[in-house]
């Protein structure tokens, strides 16, 4: 399942990323590593970004990027 499809306020496990080196790197920099727990806190309207919590850190992730992150329950 993709991160954009995840339900709000529910814990998911990050299983991997699809996409270019740049995005991958940026996510890993922010401590977004496969195996981590991720929770969608809120979403901006009109196809805007999602706000997620990973390891106690809040990160805004653009819609396009969130479509490249695979998670599972």
């Amino acid at each position: 399942m993709l991160l954009v499809e995840a339900e709000d306020d529910k814990e998911y496990k990050v299983i991997g990323f699809k996409g270019g080196k740049g995005i991958l790197h940026k996510l890993l920099q922010l401590g977004f590593v496969p195996g981590d727990q991720v929770k969608v806190l809120r979403r901006a309207p009109l196809g805007g970004p999602v706000l997620v919590e990973v390891n106690g850190r809040m990160i805004a992730i653009g819609r396009g990027v969130a479509e490249k992150i695979h998670v599972e329950e």
Binding site: K21, G22, I23, H25, K26, L27, L28, Q29, L30, G31, V33, R42, A44, P45, L46, G47, G48, P49, L51, N55, G56, R57, M58, I59, A60, I61, G62, R63, G64, V65
Partner: protein
């Protein structure tokens, strides 16, 4: 003794630097506010030491400008001791960088900052235990309040003098074997890093340009290149990932293990900080509050600025007429004197009264942590013009003054985004152009038409954004932005920060403004007005404007409001409606709103993006201004 501060964005590293060195580094509750390093001589412990603030970086992999700058610095300067500032409330991620720093083999001291915030999360951190586990001193610090600073630097100095190097973290056997293998392959060839640290960096290196990088470091040999390639593919085969991710995953696990051993989790205190987002990021109230906050922001800036501008201009005007009276108005000297005075007045009376309150307000919004929220809310909209949420900041700034707007494009990751954002930001009508819109259109045609010009401006920016991004189709990398917790800024840092930024204008743009004023005054004295009018005639003819509007348009490049002030002189009337039709007023104003950025903005464009980009942007704005003014002319002909 050279002491280098390394830490992740938002760890309080620049705050620490500023506490010790006076305000020199750029801080903000926004990741990546500094991308270059700042160096200063400081005396904390009695001895003078060189303190260097490197840009905040999450890792040392070298994949973005901040990381490259950090690596470049460490690779090219002698460093006695590293002070690694870490955010205690985000201990696990912070320690990943710490482990990477320990790999480098420098004397290292860890400063555990933001313990107060960690306590709010219910974290109790055993610093002594952490010190024992990583083998480097760990000292508590509250940088914002200046606590723990002396102790930190006393320890750093001692470790730097004695060159006490903490042990590096141990990786899995395959990696360790690869490290030894490369150390052998280096065969005594030296670099600023020690052989083991260098070996780790080489394992992580990007295979694509490895050869060039080795040559640059002057350690290349066919054997070494072959060895690294072989080891990298062995690791890739065994672990199914590029070595860089393998090492980063290992550090991730090590850091998580460290945290498990040193942190005791209690209850999290829910405070106003946690509730604030329920309003500020609400899908309805959030936007309403955003508009309210921005309107209030501009209302205050405009109020303060215009209250200061009028009396200051009066002072300068009377000073000018007194001086000119003494010299005699027809002399060459008088032209130069009035040029200098106008340049000085432009800074003191017209730019600074708006810029200073603007920078104070912006600093507040930034430090409290609101700007990343704006980026979050505006991301979807910004994508339609080929940018992402972070680029909203230059736009907001642009309404005050294009100078800080262009400066703020620095926080965007790629050059294409910086160029596009800077181009669009220069099209945003700043406070000076607001004066023209209000003084001409609102005054003679009513506020509704003025509002119409603003909406037309937004539309033009949107279209330009789409066109430019169609020509530069490279996808914007997408928003990935850390949302910091809300923090209350201290009064002192706000003042210092505003001063720090205002100084950039005073030092870099203002002198150009003064020189430009003198040049134009001289041209004016030499009676160049007619020639200047001919120069601009193609545009004024196309827009159906009288030929005399050429000089005001040229002076407008110097300072946008001059195009209005000079217009009166050029047309020789006190009431514009006597010389210009309504349609002419509209096309003149629209042209002024879009064409060539003012001299101060040009100077900043050149510094941020280079000479060529400055020329390209200027050219583009002329084309956009001409088309937009023609459209406005057609519109006025049709409806008015």
């Amino acid at each position: 003794m050279r002491c280098v501060l390394v830490g992740q964005p938002n760890s309080g590293k620049s705050t620490l630097f500023n506490q010790v060195a006076g305000y020199k580094a750029h801080t903000g509750n926004f990741s990546g506010t500094s991308v270059t390093y700042t160096e200063s001589k400081v005396r904390v412990t009695g001895e003078v030491m060189d303190l260097v603030d490197l840009p905040g970086t999450y890792t040392l992999a070298g994949s973005n400008p901040a990381e490259r700058e950090t690596l470049k610095y460490l690779g090219s300067h002698h460093v006695d001791v590293i002070v690694n500032v870490i955010d205690a409330s985000h201990l696990a991620q912070s320690l990943e960088l710490t482990l990477e720093i320990l790999d480098l083999g420098y004397p290292t001291v860890v400063a555990l900052n933001m313990m107060d915030e960690a306590a709010r999360y219910g974290m109790r951190i055993d610093g002594l235990k952490l010190q024992e586990l990583i083998g480097a001193p760990v000292l508590p610090l509250i940088a914002s309040k200046g606590r723990g600073i002396r102790n930190l630097f006393v320890t750093a100095q001692r470790f730097g003098e004695k060159q006490i190097i903490p042990p590096r973290p141990m990786y899995e056997p395959t990696i360790e074997r690869a490290i030894q293998d490369i150390v052998q392959g280096l065969d005594g060839r030296r670099h600023t890093l020690n052989p083991q640290a260098l070996a780790i960096k080489l394992i992580e290196a990007d295979a694509d340009n490895l050869d060039d990088n080795l040559k640059k470091m002057e350690i290349d040999s066919p054997d070494l290149l072959e060895r690294i390639g072989r080891l990298q593919s062995e690791i890739r085969d065994l672990r199914g990932q590029d070595p860089i991710w393998v090492l980063s995953a290992e550090r991730h696990v090590m850091a998580a293990n460290l945290v498990r051993q040193v942190v005791e989790l209690g209850n999290r205190q829910i405070s106003w900080r946690d509730r604030l987002d329920n309003f500020l990021l609400h899908p309805f109230w959030g936007y309403l509050l955003l508009v309210t906050i921005l309107l209030l922001f501009f209302e205050v800036i405009y109020g303060v600025g215009s209250a200061l501008e009028r009396p200051l201009l009066t002072v300068f005007n009377s000073l000018e007429s007194t001086l000119i009276g003494l010299i005699g108005s027809e002399t060459f000297i008088a032209g130069i004197v009035s040029g200098i005075l106008q340049g000085v007045a432009g800074g003191v009376a017209i730019v600074l009264p708006y810029l200073v309150p603007f920078l104070l307000g912006l600093g507040f919004l930034e430090d409290i942590g609101y700007l990343p929220r704006v980026a979050f809310m505006m991301d979807a909209l910004m994508h339609r013009i080929g940018l992402h949420g972070k680029a909203v900041v230059p736009f907001i700034l642009g309404y005050g003054c294009n100078v800080p707007a262009v400066m703020s494009t620095r926080m965007l990751e790629d050059r294409r985004d910086r160029f596009l954002a800077a181009t669009l930001a220069t099209l945003v009508p700043c406070a000076a152009r607001l004066a023209v819109v209000f003084g001409l259109v609102a005054f003679y045609l009513g506020p509704r038409i003025a509002l119409g010009i603003y909406l037309f401006n937004l539309l033009t920016i949107a279209i330009t954004g789409r066109l430019i991004s169609a020509m530069l189709p490279e996808e914007t990398p997408g928003l990935i932005l850390e949302m910091p917790v809300y923090r209350m800024p201290t009064f002192r840092t706000m003042i210092q920060k505003a001063w720090f930024r205002a100084k950039e204008f005073v030092v870099e743009a203002w002198p150009i403004l003064i020189v430009g004023s003198v040049v134009l005054a001289v041209l004016n004295y030499l009676d160049f007005a007619d020639y200047l009018n001919i120069l601009v005639r193609p545009f004024t003819w196309l827009l159906g404007l009288p030929g005399q509007t050429g000089v005001p348009l040229i002076f407008g490049i110097l300072r946008k409001e001059l195009s209005l002030i000079m217009l009166r002189q050029a047309l020789g009337v006190a009431d514009f409606s006597a010389a210009l039709t309504h349609a002419q007023m509209i096309s003149f104003t629209v042209f002024v709103v879009f064409y060539i950025p003012c001299l101060a903005t040009l100077a900043v464009l050149r510094r941020e993006l280079g000479y060529r980009a400055m020329l390209v942007i200027s050219g583009l704005t002329v084309i956009i201004a001409t088309i937009a003014a023609l459209v406005a002319r057609g519109f006025a002909w049709f409806f008015l």
